[in-house]
Amino acid sequence: MNKKIKKIFQSNEPYIFLIIILLGIVVQIRSGQFFTANNIVDLLSAMIVPGLFAIAEFMALIAGGIDVSFPALASLSAYATTKLLLDKNYEGNVLLAFVIAIAIGAVLGAVNGYFIGYLNLNAMIVTLGSASIFQGIMQGTLRANQLSVIPSGMKSFGTAAFLTATNKTNGLTSILPYTFIILVLVCAVMHFVLHYTIFGRGIYAIGGNPLSAHTAGFNVKRTKFIMYIMIGMIASASGICRVCMMQQMHPTNMLGMEMNIIAGVVLGGVALTGGAGTLTGCILGTFLIILVQNSMILLGIPTTWSDVFVGLVIVIGVSLTAWQSNRTSKSKKKSVKEGA
């Protein structure tokens, strides 16, 4: 039992969790508004889009790769979908939007997957390049402009409340849109895929040692290929969620999110070298970043200082996690010794 607890504290998640709680307490003390139902709901709804992106990135990192193209990919597929539905005067259910966007996302992801999986090219370079290409297609070929009106099905889906939280003292009411269910669903599915399917274990195996994975009989190329397709699909679903929630489509709004998402995932203990990390850590790390970005005013940090604050949190956060993982890897070695 003791060993189990020790093991838990050798990982990153409890520390990130502690930081989140601590920060929450500080916000609570400063504003009295942290542990209120509506604030929690606000944070959760701010988490939806980044959370989905983080899960997609998480897979890429676990397999020892990286993806910096997902914002461009999501923008392109979400834009194309919304535009298409608008042009066809589509009035129906949001489902079709998801189906189309996910299909486009799968195709775009397959492009990444082909180069990274089958041609075995460097993931960073490929996705850097494909991000430019996706953006170019969106703005050049499709001549993307902001779409201020979106199909009614998407709009009602984005504004419908799955959960409504009212703050009794000030009467403020926040809603958690149905898109949150998508986040939970994707989370659950990914947990299942990564833990209970051979494909998912293959992703971990490839991240640990691609050559061994090959010799053990995994189809490394195909696994990577399918994985990048899945990343494309999740990112696109996220793009549609965002459009629905914002009730407008802005083609370049999401670009540039990739670095903060990667920072969040790594903060949660996912190794950039591949193979190591948990979905819980990934979600916690991302949540920490979201929390920081969305608590600046509650904390009373002046707008001028906000970038400094975010920078400090990232620097201190990753320093702590790096220090802590160095420490545990050392102590692990020692305990092996003592055991022998």
Partner: protein, 330 residues
């Protein structure tokens, strides 16, 4: 024939890019000869790339170690803002600055570079933070500080003698900024090819663990690398200051990704251990030509610049893949 082959083999990255460049130049000659092949155009291009070219040169060193520097733009803006503050402090907002004072300006850049680079290197080598995160955080921090110092607005009233001089041309046709770029490029080339630093850098990038076992002072190496990168970025900031005669916290935010793109296109492996300055310089020039060329086509949206950059990047990799396809690759 064999000789040509071996030269190609030795300089694959450069040759590859030169071939693409040749095709582009021919294409431009057929389509936009009058607008593209003008002295003015080449002069403009030569004046434009030093600011981010410098950032790419420094970023290249970091990438050879297997790291990355995302703090270049922060360092650049911090430098130009500090410079402007210093100038107003010494000479007043409308004073005149003796040109010799430029030396002080360059010293400011070097000091900023040393501080920022040391911070990056400290986080990476001492605390073991992954470079991508360390430099990302530092960049955010620097940008934040710039906003705090300037309140976010641009500063443009300060003595402009430095700007006038460095935005001008030597002998009327050599942009002085280009000279700065060339000097820095030569220094870095010398460091890589004629100092032990280059060998250590490549070997460290191949395997940091073995480097430690071999007695390389890895901490010192990282400090040197990230400091050089930040100094290059700071000089890039000075070039921006010269061009735009003003300083602001968010100038050139696109240059972070752009400089990485250039470095990678120049044949530097993001995994480290491989990279030549010739490749990066060719990439810088090539991309400038493509961008400038596309701006000549009114009917072609400038968005295609992004598209073409991405395509060129992947194309370069694919050419690589096809030309040395290992038969039994897994």
């Amino acid at each position: 024939m064999n000789k040509i082959k071996s030269i190609y083999k030795k300089n694959e990255e450069v040759t590859r890019l030169l071939i693409i460049m040749a095709f582009w130049l021919i294409f431009m000659a057929f389509t936009q000869a009058k607008k593209f092949y003008t002295g003015m155009n080449f002069l403009t291009m030569a004046g434009q790339f030093p600011e981010y070219g410098l950032m790419a040169l420094g970023g290249m060193l970091c990438m050879i170690t297997g790291g990355i520097d995302l703090s270049v733009v922060g360092a650049a803006n911090m430098t130009s803002i500090l410079t402007v503050f210093t100038l107003t402090r010494f000479f007043g907002a409308d004073g005149t600055m003796p040109l010799a004072f430029s030396v002080v300006i360059f010293i400011i850049a070097i000091v900023v570079g040393i501080i920022v680079g040391s911070l990056n290197a400290f986080l990476i080598s001492r605390l073991g933070v992954p470079p991508i995160l360390a430099t990302l955080g530092v960049n955010e921090l620097l940008t934040g500080l710039c906003v705090v110092m300037t309140n976010g607005s641009a500063i443009s009233s300060f003595p402009k003698q430095y700007c006038d001089f460095f935005s001008g041309n030597l002998l009327g046709f050599i942009p002085r900024r280009l000279l700065v770029f060339i000097i820095v490029a030569i220094i870095i080339w010398f460091m890589l090819e004629h100092c032990t630093y280059g060998t250590k850098l490549r070997l460290y990038g191949t395997n940091a663990h073995v480097a430690k076992f071999s007695g390389i002072n890895t901490t010192k190496l990282l400090f040197r690398t990230y400091i050089t990168s930040s100094i290059c970025a700071a000089l890039g900031g000075l070039m921006m200051l010269a061009t735009y005669s003003s300083a602001r916290a968010d100038y050139g935010t696109n240059y972070t990704m752009q400089s990485i793109l250039l470095v990678v296109l120049g044949g530097v492996s993001p995994n480290g251990g491989k990279g030549k300055i010739s490749g990066v310089i060719t990439a810088i020039v090539l991309l400038k030509m493509i961008e400038s060329g596309i701006n000549r086509f009114r009917s072609v949206s400038t968005y295609y610049v992004t598209l073409i950059w991405g395509a060129v990047l992947i194309l370069a990799l694919v050419i690589d893949y096809v030309s040395q396809k290992p038969k039994h690759a897994k």
